[in-house]
Each structure stands twice: as structure tokens, then as C-alpha cells.
Amino acid sequence: MDNMTCHTIKSGVPKLSASEEEYLEAIYRRQTEGGERAKVKDLAKSLGVKGPSVVEMLMKLRDKGLVTYDRSGAVLTGQGMDQAVRVVLRHKLAERLLCDVFGHELPGVHEHACDFEHVLDDELTERIDALLKKPSTCPHGGIIPRLGGSSARVEGERLSNLGCGESCTVVVIPEERETVERLLSLNILPGSKVKVIEKLPRGAVMLQCGKTQIALSREIASKIIVSRGRGRIRARRRRGRN
């Protein structure tokens, strides 16, 4: 433990608590995925805490100069963004490490990585990054952000935004264990081709995947990022490897 504190002091970055990091991560996700301000209500929901504790924490982060915060929600400052990128990088690298090196199965890797990310420091993170040969995506298909790198925004469309009859290729799938388990068994993974065959207004989506029909809640469909048309993404990733 002492040893680790040493490293962080050396790298000149203030040490944040695990829950502060979780908040930064959550705000970062809102900002990059939806391009929106993170509202107190949404943060409370996604972190499973009460509204007042969110407000309290946002004040704390504001005092540290990591976010700006008003009634419409929170936005990361430049420094906050750097910190958040560090956390997300550690999280996604941890996922890759668990999956690729330790053979962890895909469902549940996100949850394990959540614990893992807080014990990694910058130096160790860099070594893992090198060991994994600087991967560009996490096991769920999301782009791994890097300091000074380009935006982590995945190019593509939310599956819930597609219309009836449109075909697409899955790029990113959600991360929660149960969701991944179900998607895995139905073969909806990054690279799978699916077609929207039925969509209820503000409601569920029905997909044709091979010869199977699968119904998804709107919430799940909005967390699946797809690219319209053929499997461009996967082909590109393959080439990147070779």
C-alpha cells in the first residue's frame, strides 16, 4: 500500500478515492457516449446512490477543480477529463488483461475490472498497456481512450435509433454481467450482423439475428452501438493486428 502511494506522488497526480474515481468515470461516460451533461438524477441511478450524496460528491469534485457543476448537471474540466481518461484507461486495460491473459470469461469481467482499476497506478498501467501491445478496444468493443489521444467516442449509431428493416453490425455491447451473459448466448457480440424487424414506438426492439428473433428492451438497445451496413469495423481491427 505504501509503495503505491509512493508511485502516485512521484507521478505528481493527486490521489483520488475509489468513489471519486467512480464518479469521474460515470460523468465521463455520459459526456463521451451521449455528448451530454451528467445530470444528478442519472448519476444517482447509474451509481446506485441517493441524489443528495451525488450533490455532495460533485461539490467535492468541483472544489478539487475536476468538474464544473450547476443545475443542469456536471461537466469535466480539462484536468478532470485527464483524470477520468486515466480511470477509464485503467478500467478497460484491466478488462483486457483479465480476459486475454487470465482467460476470464466475458460476462462479469466489467465488474471485476471495477475493483481492479482502483489498485493500478500509472506506471503499472503503462506496463500492462505495453504487455497487451496497446490494444485499441476493450472486450466489449468500446474504444480505449489514452491521454492526449483522440476522442473515445465510437463512431456509430445506437441500435435503438435504427428504423424498421435496417441492417447493421454490432460494434459495442453493454458491460453489465447479466446483459453480457444473455447477449453472448444469443450470439450478439461485436461483429455480429443483425436486422431490426420490429420496433414499438418508445418501446422494445425486435431483431433478426440469423434465423432467430430476439427482443430487446429500449434501454439495452440504446446501449448497443452499431454501424449501419456490413462488417467494416471487424475487418479493420483484424488488419490492425497483423
Binding site: 480476459c99 501491445k133 428492451s217
Partner: protein
């Protein structure tokens, strides 16, 4: 055995005993065959199961789970065949409880032959499981079922080509019409006799395969025994997939460190080469092989347009789906009211004319005991006839029909967004609809929901769903004596209450809603025999379990009545019954008994009233309030026990108390305000 008391003098007896033992074992092996039916959901597995086994079926929960396992026994030539119907699963992973049970049953019971039922109309999907089953190395038969559906869809898989590709025998069947099922069974028995597994297993991609073989060799070298008699190769695949269950099993073995280390190394290597985790890679390759084989063995023919396709579309489209759903529900209730009401009139009438007078005459000569028997048996059976057959049986039949047609998942799709309002999602729809039959299995079925919050909400709401017993009370009182519109009002009130409670729970419970991910099976024509057998299995519980309980309850009421003890219980609680709810004070007996069996409330009401014509005993308003209160107040004992098992005492008690208060509130309000002007 040999070490204890072994003396030369006893050698003869010992040898004889050994010979008998060996003969016995040999004989057992020769005549007992264990056959496991495995397949994805909705491939007609249970249709085949019922045709093979006939009526002799045992349903049991797999030890420690809520997953039901059907087991049937058949005599075939001179074999005793035990047929196990595994839960329908997409893969042999350790993800859902169903999958866990399927794989445990296969690994632990070590069937002599696996019959893998595949969907000929969606071969690619089925082959994913087929490939996993083949890796187990047991004798195996692939049954291409739903061949008619495949032809109608315009694909014709060739059994000969598939057999050649897979290296296992393939039989084509149409189970819905019973075509070829006997041949398939015969073939499976022959395979069990021969005892040879698949000749080869289709290989994965070259480098993955090299990794698998390397690990298999390591397993062969260092492990003395392989868990569950798996082949080294299949264990190797499972370890590379990161299968926790088997990793644990291997870790328990001596000298297993090397194997696990090797597995990690190879997994890393595969992951490094493909840029994705090895579990993921193997699954992808297996999907790939399944797709390739399916493509190669299938020939496209011209498709006939099918009615069921059009039905699939209109039941899941929002413009037509919602009205259809409403129509299905209305039809269900109307069938219950008219068919059930008709049957009730018929049965009670017949009992009253043909049996009741002679029983009455018989008991009359026995003094006080006779009076007890008259109330207990004569009235008790009249009450049972009024409830059990007309309403519960009819409900189970119609519900099994909806299930077998495959309509319920469509409802889940249509209702998903509405369910989000009450903190649930589409997956909760099927258990909640099941609650209309009986709350207990419905509560157990909520295990498909992933979060505790969802389970708490759905369990609470299910206890408020009028089960078939409560439907019997509603229809047997209000529906029968006051008219259908009043019965529908009660349903309306209950549905509104369910929605309100759902809104409140969603508002105040912490946590978030996950979401529905569900396969939609195509609609299909139901088969009569499995449908009837399913209905009978559900009905059996009511008949065998509830009937004696209800008659004993009626006898106790009779005894209390005759001895005058009834008033001792009735009086202290009369402020509640007659004061607040406006019911005759004696109905408290019926209400208390309703806690044990909900339909018992009606049966005992008939007993207390002393006549099946309840209007002679209660006013229309009293009947209405009675039905309303019985519908909502406290779930029955069995339901509470199920709640306790799923959620613990605290939540079970909370739910029981809440429903009791809601019932008092709503019932009292109706009596005092009488908004329907009854």
C-alpha cells in the same frame, strides 16, 4: 467386503455371492439405458418426450434448483429406458440456472445416449449446442425435428450430408404429427447398445485447435482422472473457455497445477493472436462452424407462404399487437365466465339433484355426527365441484394453450415499455401471467430476473395477481350471482392496484431497471397430448393436495357449527368483519380459511351459508366486498412460503401485511361508499 470375515471355509459362498453380484451388475448394465433429450428451447423436445414416454412421467426439481426435470420410463424390447428431458438451453455454459442444470444432469448422470433434438428450420442455431454436446464424447443421435416447418420456410437440410459432416447418425422427424419419432427412438437405443461416441469432432480454426490439442495432451499426461469422465479434449476446450465450474473441479484434483497453468498460458496465446479473449474466440469459431455446416447441408427450395409468419408479425406489431392482447385476455375471462359458469351450474345442479339428497338422508340418521358430516362432506364436495373443475381446470387448459402456441413471449415484447413504468421489464411478463394460474410457480419463475429489486417488485405484484383459485372465488360469487360486469370491475380494481403498487415500489426502491433480452419463438400449432399432460400435471396438485384439505376444513367448520363454538371465534372479530367490511360476522371463518387455500374461502362460504345459493345469505354488496377482499388480502400459505424462500421472512411478512392493509382499505371503502350502487 472381501477383507471382512474372509475364511477359506467360506470361500464357496463368497464366490457364489461374487458371481451373483457380477451377474447382477452385468444384467443391470445390459437392461437399463439412460437416455437424455437435449436441445434448444422450442425445438419440440417435450413433444418428442411425451411421445416416447407416454403417460408415465415424473416431474422433479433438480436438487437445489427450481428447474424442473421431466423423467419418464419406458420398456423397449428388453430394456428399461429412463428418459430425461433436460431444460432447453442454447449452450452448455454455466450462465443460467437452466444451463447449469442441463450440464450437471449430463455430466453427473452420464447418459448412455444423448438425443440431441435440432430445429431443422433453424439449423445453424441448433448446431451450436450440438457441437458442444459432441465434445462430451458420448453416444449421440441428432434428430432433425420440425422438418415440415423447414420445408415451408424454404430450406431443406439433408440428414445424410449432416450425418457425414458430424459423424453421428441423423434422423428426420415431424414430432407434431408423430412422424418418425419411433424410428428415432429405436436408433437411439441401438446407439446406446453400441456405446460408441462421435467418430470425430469438427475442428475449430487451426491455431485454436493446436492450443486445444496441446492442453488435451497435458491433461492426459498429468491428470490421473478427468472430472465427470470427460474426454481430455472436451475438458481442454472447457478450460480454455474459462469455465469456472470445471476449473474448480480440476483445481480440486491432485497434480492439477500444471494443467491450469498451461490452460492460462494457452488462453493468453490465443487471445494475443486474435485480439479477443479465448472464451470469446472459441464461441465465435463454434458459431462459425455451426453456420458453415448448416450452409453446406442445407438446400434452398421455394418457400410456401405461411399463415404463422403473418401471425408472428401481427401479434408483435404495436397497432395490431395491443388489441390482440386485449382480445386474448378478454376471451380468457369470457371463457372462464361462460364455460366455467356453465360447468358450475351443471355440476352443482347434478350434485344437488342426484347425490346430495341421498347423502343428506344417510347422514340424517346419525345425530350430531351426521350433521357434522352433512356440512363437511355434502356441502364441502358441492363447494369443491363449484370451484375446482369449472374454473381452475378451464383456466389451466386455456393457459397451457397460450403457452404452447408460443404467444406469451409476444406479450412480453408488446408490454415491455409499460413494464418499465413499474420497475420491471418484458421478461417479468411471463411469470406474472403465470400468476393468473397459481402464484407459487410464478414466484419461483421470477428467478429469471437478475436483480433483487426486480424480484421483489415482481413477487409483490404477483401475490396481487388473481390466481385461478381467486378467479374461482370472484366468478363463483360475483360473476355467478351478480353478473359478469361486476366480476370485470373486480379485475379492473385489482389491475389498477397492481399498477399503483408497482409505481410506488419503483419510485421508492433503490436501484435501477435492467432490461429484457429474450428470444422470440415463432408461433406454432399446439399439440394436444403434451398440452393435456401439462394441464393434468398442474391440476393434479389441486386435486390430490387440496381436496382432502378442503374436506377437513369443511368438517371442522361443521363441528364448530354443531357444537356452537363458531360464535366464540366469530364474535371478537366482528368489529372488523361486520363493522368495517359490512360482511356477516361468520364469514371470518371463511376468510381465515382462505389464508390456507384461497378457493377454500368460497367452499367454506357455501358451507357456512348452508346453501350454494349465496344470495339467500348475503346481499349483492356483501358478496362484492367479500370477493374483493378475498382477492387482495394476504396471499395463501403456499405463496407466503414461496416468498419466504425467494426473499426471506422480512420481505414475505412485509408483502403479506401490505396486501392485508390494502384489502381492508379497499374493501371497507367499497362497503361504506358503495360506488356501484349495489
Amino acid at each position: 467386503m472381501a477383507a471382512v470375515g474372509f475364511e477359506p471355509a467360506a470361500e464357496g459362498a463368497e464366490t457364489r455371492f461374487l458371481i451373483i453380484l457380477v451377474w447382477h451388475m452385468f444384467n443391470r448394465k445390459k437392461t437399463e439405458i439412460v437416455m437424455a433429450l437435449a436441445g434448444t428451447p422450442n425445438v419440440g423436445k417435450s413433444a418428442i418426450f411425451h411421445q416416447i414416454t407416454g403417460a408415465d412421467v415424473i416431474v422433479s426439481n433438480y436438487p437445489g434448483t427450481t428447474v424442473e426435470l421431466l423423467e419418464g420410463r419406458v420398456k423397449h424390447r428388453n430394456y428399461n429406458v429412463k428418459v430425461i428431458d433436460l431444460p432447453g438451453v442454447y449452450s452448455l455454459g454455466a450462465v443460467s440456472e437452466d444451463e447449469l442444470v442441463a450440464r450437471r444432469a449430463i455430466l453427473e448422470q452420464q447418459p448412455d445416449v444423448i438425443v440431441n433434438i435440432a430445429d431443422a428450420s433453424n439449423l445453424e442455431r441448433s448446431l451450436f449446442l450440438t457441437l458442444q454436446l459432441m465434445e462430451l464424447g458420448r453416444p449421440m443421435l441428432v434428430v432433425l425435428n420440425m422438418y415440415d416447418v423447414a420445408l415451408a420456410k424454404g430450406t431443406r437440410p439433408s440428414p445424410a450430408k449432416l450425418s457425414k459432416k458430424l459423424g453421428v447418425p441423423v434422423v428426420v422427424t415431424v414430432a407434431t404429427r408423430g412422424e418418425n419419432v419411433a424410428t428415432a427412438f429405436d436408433e437411439a437405443i441401438k446407439l446406446a447398445e453400441r456405446g460408441t461416441g462421435p467418430k470425430k469432432v469438427p475442428l475449430t480454426g487451426k491455431d485454436t485447435e493446436v492450443g486445444i490439442m496441446e492442453l488435451a495432451k497435458e491433461i492426459d499426461r498429468s491428470l490421473a482422472t478427468v472430472p465427470f469422465n470427460l474426454s481430455p479434449r472436451s475438458l481442454a476446450v472447457k478450460l480454455l473457455e474459462g469455465d469456472e465450474h470445471l476449473i474448480r473441479a480440476v483445481a480440486d484434483l491432485p497434480e492439477s497445477e500444471g494443467v491450469l497453468k498451461k490452460a492460462r498460458e494457452l488462453a493468453r496465446e490465443i487471445a494475443g493472436r486474435h485480439g479477443e479473449p479465448s472464451a470469446y474466440r472459441i464461441a465465435r469459431e463454434r458459431h462459425g462452424i455451426a453456420a458453415m455446416i448448416a450452409r453446406e447441408v442445407t438446400e434452398q427450395v421455394s418457400a410456401r407462404p405461411r399463415l404463422s409468419h403473418r401471425l408472428d408479425d401481427i401479434t408483435s406489431n404495436v397497432r395490431t399487437g395491443v388489441p390482440i392482447m386485449a382480445a386474448v385476455f378478454t376471451a380468457l375471462i369470457l371463457i372462464l365466465i361462460y364455460v366455467g359458469g356453465f360447468l358450475e351450474g351443471l355440476l352443482v345442479g347434478a350434485w344437488g339433484v342426484f347425490v346430495s339428497p341421498s347423502l343428506h338422508y344417510l347422514f340424517d340418521g346419525l345425530g350430531d355426527i351426521g350433521r357434522v358430516l352433512d356440512i363437511g362432506i355434502n356441502q364441502g364436495i358441492a363447494g369443491i365441484l363449484a370451484v375446482m373443475i369449472p374454473y381452475i381446470l378451464v383456466f389451466f387448459l386455456v393457459f397451457a394453450l397460450l403457452e404452447d402456441v408460443g404467444y406469451l413471449p409476444r406479450m412480453a415484447f408488446v408490454m415491455d415499455s409499460a413494464m418499465h413504468r413499474i420497475g420491471l421489464h418484458g421478461r417479468a411478463v411471463v411469470p406474472m401471467l403465470g400468476g393468473f394460474g397459481c402464484n407459487v410457480p410464478a414466484i419461483m419463475a421470477t428467478r429469471v430476473l437478475t436483480t433483487r429489486r426486480e424480484r421483489l417488485i415482481s413477487n409483490f405484484l404477483i401475490t396481487m395477481v388473481p390466481c385461478s383459485a381467486r378467479t374461482a372465488v370472484i366468478l363463483g360469487t360475483v360473476g355467478f350471482f351478480l353478473g359478469i360486469q361486476y366480476a370485470l370491475v373486480i379485475y379492473g380494481i385489482v389491475l389498477v392496484l397492481i399498477f399503483l403498487v408497482g409505481l410506488l415500489l419503483n419510485r421508492f426502491l433503490r436501484g435501477q431497471i435492467s432490461g429484457m433480452i429474450m428470444e422470440m419463438p415463432p408461433l406454432r400449432r399446439p399439440m394436444i397430448k403434451p398440452l393435456l399432460s401439462k394441464t393434468w400435471m398442474r391440476m393434479k396438485h389441486f386435486v390430490y393436495f387440496a381436496t382432502p384439505l378442503l374436506i377437513v376444513g369443511s368438517l371442522i367448520i361443521g363441528a364448530l357449527h354443531v357444537t356452537g363454538l363458531l360464535t366464540a371465534i366469530v364474535e371478537p372479530l366482528s368489529p372488523l368483519t361486520s363493522g368495517w367490511l359490512g360482511l356477516p360476522a361468520v364469514t371470518i371463518i371463511s376468510l381465515i380459511y382462505g389464508f390456507i387455500r384461497k378457493e377454500g374461502a368460497l367452499v367454506l362460504l357455501v358451507t357456512i351459508a348452508g346453501t350454494p345459493n349465496l344470495l339467500q345469505f348475503m346481499t349483492p354488496l356483501q358478496l362484492f366486498v367479500f370477493a374483493l377482499v378475498v382477492t387482495i388480502y394476504v396471499p395463501c400459505v403456499a405463496t407466503i412460503a414461496a416468498l419466504k424462500q425467494e426473499l426471506g421472512w422480512k420481505d414475505a411478512a412485509m408483502i403479506g401485511a401490505s396486501t392485508f392493509l390494502i384489502a381492508l382499505l379497499v374493501g371497507g371503502a367499497f362497503f361504506h361508499l358503495n360506488p356501484l350502487r349495489l
